[in-house]
């Protein structure tokens, strides 16, 4: 199969649906396994930080969530380009179905960061570079959600969201840079995120496991949501009716 064919097929809901059955459960199972392992490892077996003590264990929740929050948005931006430039049908489904997941991950990153901030910084919230840009990321997600809700026509909503997602992705680095630079200039380094380059393997290994697990969760969400969305979208098509009559029967 040439790349061209693959590309074309990826844009075809039916093909995607028929191919992706096994992927979905694989990713979901992998995600649960990795995340449970990583969390248990991080909670009980990783050594405490010599400065922060056990509150450090929040890192195993916080960093994967923060990474996903950004990755999902980048994925939305990519889908936006696909939709606007190549009018790829699947990209619209991605745009429609991934916003909620990304927003929840952002919320988790914010929440776990805030919870971590209380014991380490002595306050739930402080406006520094990363916190601010994460908060703004949450607003970007809200914007996508609200825009889609506000436009009744599905097709138009898809393109409008695509445009917004692309504009947002272009802006994210600028936002990040601006706030990071601004607070380090004015606030001093008191609240700088702890960076531990010399982190021992026993500390970063569970983090790695969780990050990979988080990406699996992302993939599982992507595939599962696309699959249901495809069924709903193509409900008039013959193959979906066959599916409902046959395999889909409980």
């Amino acid at each position: 199969m040439t790349f061209r064919q693959f590309w074309h097929r990826l844009g075809s809901p039916k093909w995607f649906y028929q191919m992706s059955g096994p992927w979905q459960s694989a990713f979901a199972i992998l995600a649960v396994l990795l995340l449970v392992t990583g969390m248990a490892w991080g909670l009980a077996f990783a050594p405490p930080d010599y400065q922060q003590g056990n509150s450090f264990r929040i890192i195993y929740v916080h960093v994967p969530a923060a990474i996903l929050a950004q990755s999902v948005y980048v994925a939305l931006g990519a889908a936006g380009v696909l939709l606007l430039v190549w009018r790829m049908k699947m990209a619209q489904l991605v745009l429609e179905n991934l916003v909620g997941f990304g927003a929840w991950m952002t919320a988790l990153a914010l929440f776990s960061g805030a919870v971590w901030g209380k014991p380490t910084w002595g306050t739930w919230w402080v406006f520094d570079g990363r916190t601010t840009s994460t908060l703004v990321l949450l607003f970007l997600y809200f914007g996508l959600y609200a825009l889609r809700r506000a436009i009744p026509a599905r097709e138009a909503a898809g393109r409008a969201c695509a445009l917004l997602a692309v504009v947002g992705v272009i802006n994210i680095p600028v936002i990040k840079y601006s706030v990071e630079w601004w607070t380090t200039l004015h606030q001093g380094a008191t609240f700088k995120l702890t960076e531990a380059p010399a982190m021992p393997a026993s500390m970063w290994a569970p983090l790695l496991v969780n990050v990979v697990g988080a990406y699996c969760l992302f993939a599982a969400n992507l595939v599962a949501k696309l699959r249901t969305a495809i069924l709903r979208q193509e409900r008039g098509a013959a193959w979906v009716r066959e599916w409902a009559a046959g395999e889909g029967r409980p």
Partner: protein
């Protein structure tokens, strides 16, 4: 295991509240997310089947046939 007993595990050296808040939020989100996926799938399936049934009862609606 980095902790002597369960008590210490729960207490997390005094940071138990924060650590457990963060982890429980994460676990809750994970569970909600995965069950959400399953529920959505079931609902779609039921919906499609209901649609299929009403179609076969009424006879196939010509205007909606692909």
């Amino acid at each position: 295991m980095m902790f002597e007993d369960w008590q210490a595990f729960i207490a997390m050296g005094g940071h138990g509240l924060y650590v457990w808040m963060a982890y429980s939020a994460a676990v809750a989100l994970l569970i909600a997310n995965l069950t959400g996926l399953g529920v959505e799938r079931c609902r779609t399936r039921r919906h499609l089947q209901a649609q299929l049934r009403s179609r076969t009862e009424e006879g196939l609606d010509a205007s909606e046939a692909p």
